[in-house]
């Protein structure tokens, strides 16, 4: 049983008529995801990739039974799209869009919290349950079904690590990017909770990076709850200088806060093995939790 997305996912795509939205809705369908509708204001009545486009979420819900959503619209329109998706009762809401104003992100997150909606992102590659479905832009072929959960703050680095797991015969239950922005919905702690309650997940990989305190909070949670499943990690940015934004808006060391060293230290101190290089992860996983490969 996966978390967040799976065979029962029926998604509405915001921005399905745009470049990214149409390209990726095609790939998501090919991967097996049920894409039941698209929403683009002013383009209602069109068909994209055999999917009907509606002007609003309520119009889409009159004829479809959607339960999830993914948003590709440009940053200026993302707050509106996300709030419409939340109001429509869709859950989760995956926000791929990058570069959303911080105040807009705060409103989206607060509104989602009021409605009990899970937001993945913004600035995320999305969520994939290998072999079932994906709401995101990740290449499906690097993943394989299995029982290791993967949560990451990065995109291509996640594919890198998923690929090395896959090549070592270690499959994944669900992989998701929590997003590279300073303000994101799901954080590592919430992901740890979801995976804890998922019988299909036997071990976890956390892929962190410099900036913020998501890794430290995860470490605290693991220690406080005596987390029942093995967790291993990799943290990118040991070689990053302070004060420089390393591509992701959230990847910046301010003062001494947010350094890779501090994050590795807090994870290690609660028993999480942190790999020196990404390709060590499969070996470490096998040592920690032998029966995970299949």
């Amino acid at each position: 049983m996966p978390i967040l997305v799976g065979r029962k996912t029926r998604a509405i795509v915001w921005g399905i008529t745009g470049n990214q939205g149409s390209f990726h809705s095609k790939l998501m369908k090919e991967y097996g995801t049920q894409i039941v509708a698209g929403v683009t204001p002013g383009k209602g009545g069109n068909i994209v990739n055999d999917v009907s486009v509606f002007d609003t979420a309520s119009a889409a819900l009159e004829t479809t039974d959607a339960n999830s959503s993914i948003i590709f619209v440009p940053a200026p329109f993302t707050k509106d799209a996300a709030m419409e998706a939340i109001d429509a009762g869709l859950n989760p809401v995956v926000i791929i869009t990058e570069g959303i104003p911080a105040r807009d992100a705060m409103v989206i997150l607060a509104y989602a919290k009021q409605h009990g909606t899970i937001i993945v992102g913004p600035n995320t590659p999305g969520v994939i349950t290998p072999g079932e479905a994906k709401l995101g832009i990740m290449p499906g072929e690097v993943f394989k079904p299995g029982t290791v959960g993967v949560a990451s703050r990065s995109g291509t680095l996640t594919y890198e690590i998923a690929q090395s797991l896959t090549h070592s015969g270690i499959g994944q239950s669900t992989c998701l990017g929590i997003g590279g922005d300073p303000y994101t919905g799901l954080n590592f702690v919430e992901v740890l909770k979801l995976f804890r309650d998922d019988p299909g997940t036997t071990a976890l990989v956390l892929i962190g990076e410099i900036g913020g305190s998501a890794e430290e909070e995860a470490a605290r949670y693991i220690s406080e709850t005596d987390y029942p499943k093995p967790v291993v990690a990799y943290v990118a940015g040991r070689g990053a200088p302070p004060g420089k934004r390393m591509g992701h808006a959230g990847a910046i060391i301010t003062g001494t806060e947010g350094t890779a060293a501090a994050k590795i230290e807090s994870l290690t101190s609660v028993g999480v093995t942190v790999a020196d290089v990404p390709s060590d992860l499969p070996r470490i996983l096998e040592k920690q939790a032998p029966p995970i490969s299949h």
Partner: protein, 392 residues
């Protein structure tokens, strides 16, 4: 823990000069000291004549810490003000040349306060900060005596309500008319943060004057870069600010690349911020020293890679280049074509190591081989190779 002062080292932040921030503040009724901005010593003298009394002459720079650097001086007479302005104008503060000074009336203060509206990453909201210990390094106050900094998180949906600001005023010890005066000021600072999509609005100090009023003696505003689409008046500034970065960084950013210069001699290019960071870490781990962070983006094409390679190899300090591509949406054959395009048109100026994996990687490596360019499938092997290059 909210960040109290915004980091002053991020070059892409959209900061406003103090005199600009104060003019925006004045427009919505926030009390600021009387004063005006000068570009020459004589202008400063004339401003003093108009103001009368004693004045303060303040360097207008975007970096913090100008007081310690000698960028704030006082003038008792217009002639003295001219001399002080002439000392400050043209000086360099943390590498930034002072082009303008703000000449303002000197305030007689009873108490100096710190107030700020910050974006609070851990609470995912804006937070109002205030302290009776203003005018000093507030981060130090927060560290040594955290109880002296009032933190009031604000609901993102409703924003700062009048009673939020009254609560802060009361906790600072004000009542009666002063409670209303201070809470109005705080509400207005919050309004500025909304009007200008500010990451930070900070006044340190807000001066409580002898007659019990409040004046923002200093004011900093930093605009959220991501909001520029709805802040048209700052879009031009965004281009000016980007001229403050190194020429190489500016060149890279023009091409749409996320680029940061580092100390070493190994040029690094990759697709995706996390992967590039991991690549830098790996090269360092094997004893190499990266010259830059260059992210061509997750879904990039041949042109992006070609542009990145051209920029990175153009740097004199770069002795060798490492391209690390994990193709998902990107296709390796496209990337390989981009690399060969650079080779054929301007030539490969530095030894190059390519790592390619993912979509169409076999085809990509075949194309590279046809152009005599080495490539690897595993990132570790490629990283070791690039470090070993030329070091034997």
């Amino acid at each position: 823990m909210p960040t109290f002062a915004a980091p002053d080292f991020e070059q892409t932040q959209m900061k406003l000069f103090e005199y600009e921030a104060k003019s925006f503040a004045q427009n919505i009724g926030i009390p600021v000291p009387r004063g005006s901005v000068a570009s020459t010593p004589d202008e400063a003298k004339d401003i003093h004549k108009r103001l009368g009394g004693e004045v303060v002459v303040k360097a207008q720079v975007l970096v913090a810490g100008r007081g310690k650097a000698g960028g704030i001086k006082f003038g008792k007479t217009p002639d003295e003000t001219r001399d002080r302005a002439s000392e400050i104008l043209g000086m360099f503060i943390k590498g930034e040349k002072v082009q303008k000074v703000l000449v303002e009336q000197k305030l007689a203060s009873k108490r100096e306060l710190f107030t700020s509206i910050v974006q609070d990453r851990s609470n995912r909201c804006q937070t109002a900060l205030a302290s009776g210990q203003g005018g000093v390094d507030i981060e130090e106050v927060a560290q040594t005596t955290p109880e002296k900094v009032i933190k009031h998180p604000l609901d993102p949906i409703f924003g700062m309500r009048a009673y939020d600001s009254r609560d802060v005023a009361l906790r600072l010890g004000y009542n009666g008319n002063q409670l209303n005066l201070f809470s109005n000021l705080l509400s207005n600072l919050y309004r500025l943060s909304v009007m200008y999509d500010a990451e930070l609005v900070e006044s340190n100090p807000v001066v409580e004057t002898q007659d019990g009023k409040f004046v923002t003696a200093d004011l900093r505003i930093i605009v959220d870069d991501n909001s520029l689409f709805r802040q048209p008046e700052f879009q031009e500034r965004s281009r000016e600010v980007s001229s403050e970065v190194s020429p190489l960084e500016a060149k890279a950013r023009e091409q749409g690349l996320a680029f940061v210069e580092l100390e070493g001699d190994v040029g690094i290019i990759g697709n995706g911020a996390g992967l590039v960071m991991a690549t830098i870490d790996l090269v360092k781990q094997f004893g190499g020293n990266p010259a830059n962070f260059c992210d061509v983006g997750g879904g990039s094409n041949a042109d992006h890679v070609a542009a990145a390679l051209s920029v990175v190899q153009s740097s004199e300090k770069v002795k060798k280049v490492f391209i690390n591509i994990l193709a998902g949406i990107t296709r390796c054959d496209e990337v390989a074509k981009g690399i060969l395009e650079v080779k054929n048109v301007i030539g490969l100026k530095k030894p190059l190591v390519v790592r390619m994996a993912g979509t169409n990687h076999e085809e990509g490596r075949r194309i590279l081989r046809s152009g005599n360019v080495d490539s690897f499938e595993k990132m570790e092997e490629a990283a070791k190779m690039v470090v070993a290059l030329g070091s034997s």
